[in-house]
């Protein structure tokens, strides 16, 4: 009997490092996509891209101080990301320039500084590690970090869910009934940074955004409902993780890009076949209703 899932599962059954990679990616698959859902709904998709660059100099500083040490680089990335997010937010409130423009300015400064720092000491291989991560070499500490980030994200999102939705839909209304708007916005930015730092560990800075945004965008082609977007985006991310890792094993591809390309493929499929505004649905026009 031929088992169609056999080749997909085989590498995970066979190798411990593949199971570790899978566990890390699945942890990220349940935490990053919901954050991405809110980012896309707020039309801040590109903000996560900017933030992923902003964490680079912090991680690089950690690398300069302590070498390839997980705590140092994570801490550095967190600090750099939060500083850029807070500075951009504060400058926006104090001046007339809009938040996206400020964020662009700060992340460009930050990115250039980061590349400079890495090149001061690192070799080409180090830079590749920064940009594309090391999902096949996750140690215990990294797994605990990813699990912790995942737990923290889900608990925090549950706690701020309603005010966050209100802040997205009608920030002015939230301001008139509550003072929680500012803190909720900052907590959300912190979640973005934390998840990018987690993704940076597994997939590298450039691709961390992929697992955050691609499932979230793809999910919009399957449901119109916020309550549906979040689980569907998690599911898409999980499928992308499994197939991406499996493909990278069989075809001997770098795992980070393979996972993001798998997510990208799922996005393209959703865009074509999704029931909510997918392209095929537009081509085959259903007859309109009476009322």
């Amino acid at each position: 009997m031929i088992d169609p899932f056999g080749p997909i599962i085989a590498p995970f059954v066979e190798f411990g490092f593949m199971r570790r990679a899978l566990a890390g990616c699945l942890a990220l698959s349940v935490s990053a996509p919901p954050v991405g859902v809110f980012l896309t709904l707020r039309r801040m998709s590109l903000m996560s891209d900017a933030m992923s660059h902003a964490i680079l100099p912090g991680a690089a500083a950690g690398f300069l101080v302590a070498g390839l040490s997980l705590p140092a680089m994570t801490l550095g990335g967190l600090v750099a990301g939060l500083v850029v997010a807070l500075l951009a937010g504060a400058v926006t409130r104090a001046t007339v320039v809009r938040e996206d423009a400020n964020l662009a300015a700060f992340y460009l400064i930050s990115l250039a500084g980061g590349v400079l720092l890495v090149s001061l000491r690192g070799s080409q291989i180090d830079l590749m590690h920064f940009l594309f991560g090391s999902v096949l070499a996750l140690d215990d500490a990294a797994l605990i970090l990813l699990g912790g980030i995942s737990t923290l994200t889900l608990v925090a999102l549950a706690a701020i869910y309603r005010p966050l939705v209100m802040e997205c839909v009608d920030p002015l209304f939230l301001r008139t009934v509550s003072r929680s708007g500012g803190p909720v916005h900052l907590a959300f930015l912190a979640l973005v940074v934390v998840n990018l730092v987690g993704g940076f560990q597994a997939l590298g800075t450039l691709l961390a955004v992929g697992l955050m945004l691609l499932p979230a965008v793809a999910a919009r082609f399957w449901t119109r409902d916020l309550g549906g977007l979040i689980p569907i985006s998690m599911l898409i991310a999980a499928i992308a993780s499994v197939t991406g890792l499996s493909l990278s094993y069989h075809l001997d591809l770098p795992s980070g890009p393979a996972i993001v390309l798998a997510a990208g493929a799922l996005y393209l499929v959703s865009m074509l076949a999704g029931p909510r505004g997918g392209l095929l649905r537009r081509l085959i026009r259903a007859r309109h209703l009476e009322a």
């Binding site: 309603r162 939705v165 209100m166 997205c168 002015l172 209304f173 008139t176 009934v177 929680s180």
Partner: protein, 268 residues
């Protein structure tokens, strides 16, 4: 902003100047809005109606003077910042009005009958599950009024609530406003339709940056007052001098002299 319990006045405005970038949009306004008043704000574009409502809602700081207000208020801005493409149901939008009761944790299911009743009251019964992106302009405005009902505040501020809305919807919403008035709530609405104001609003504040007249609607909306309101400048003078103080005392007929007749010091 101080909140004083059980006063006769919903708002007391003391030497109030509101504006943007040091340029006043509401200039030296004194007076009080009595609790339970149904007040119309009338004036030409740029007269400061929206600015005054924003100031009352605490959205913008006072340039000078202060506003005393008592109790919670509900505020419906003219240009809302609502993202209508957000995947949210009508029930969830209206349910936001329950924030003070529900907080961020409690389920809205407990208030399902109340939400249903509020939607019925604005003629949106059965729309609970509809996404807000599918509502028409008038239906959306009705949903916002349902949210106001659920907010259940003693003071309601409405900034041009009927712009771009058909007659039937306006009639329904005006009935709702009169109901609020009957319940003893204070309602302040910025409006352009003078017939509407004469018919439904017992008191009116005619504003043209300076207060032109404030009192019973019939005595405020005279041809003479309206002409004076039109003539007051709405220009934004980049080189305006620094204003040194309010003109005369409270209750003074502000409109009787031209905008430059009080003492100004040159900015230089």
């Amino acid at each position: 902003m101080s909140i004083r319990p059980a006063t006769q006045n919903a708002f007391r405005l003391v030497g109030l100047t509101l504006g943007y970038d040091r340029h006043p949009a509401v200039h030296h306004l004194d007076g009080a809005v009595r609790t339970g008043d149904l007040l119309a704000l009338v004036g030409p574009n740029g007269a400061g109606k929206s600015t005054l409502l924003k100031g009352m809602a605490g959205e913008i700081p006072c340039l000078e003077g202060h506003i005393d207000r008592s109790g919670d208020l509900a505020y419906m801005p003219q240009a809302d910042e609502i993202d209508r493409s957000f995947p949210l149901s009508v029930m969830d939008l209206a349910g936001m009005g329950l924030w003070r009761k529900s907080g961020s944790w409690r389920s809205l299911w407990r208030w399902r009958p109340e939400i249903g009743a509020a939607l019925d009251a604005v003629g949106l019964g059965g729309f609970e599950a509809r996404p807000i992106s599918t509502l028409s302009g008038g239906q959306f405005r009705r949903a916002l009024f349902a949210r106001l009902i659920l907010q259940d505040c003693p003071v309601v501020l409405l900034d041009e609530p009927f712009t771009g809305i058909d007659n039937r919807t306006v009639e329904d919403l005006l009935a709702l406003i009169r109901l609020w008035h009957g319940q003893g709530r204070t309602v302040i609405a910025a409006l352009h339709d003078l017939t509407q104001v004469r018919e439904h609003f017992p008191t009116t504040l005619l504003l043209a940056r300076e207060p032109v007249a404030w009192g019973p609607t019939a005595r405020v909306l005279t041809a003479e007052n309206l002409a004076r309101a039109r003539n007051l400048s709405e220009a934004w003078d980049e080189d305006a001098a620094i204003c040194v103080g309010p003109r005369q005392a409270v209750g003074h007929d502000h409109g009787s002299h031209g905008p430059d007749s009080h003492h100004h010091e040159d900015a230089a």
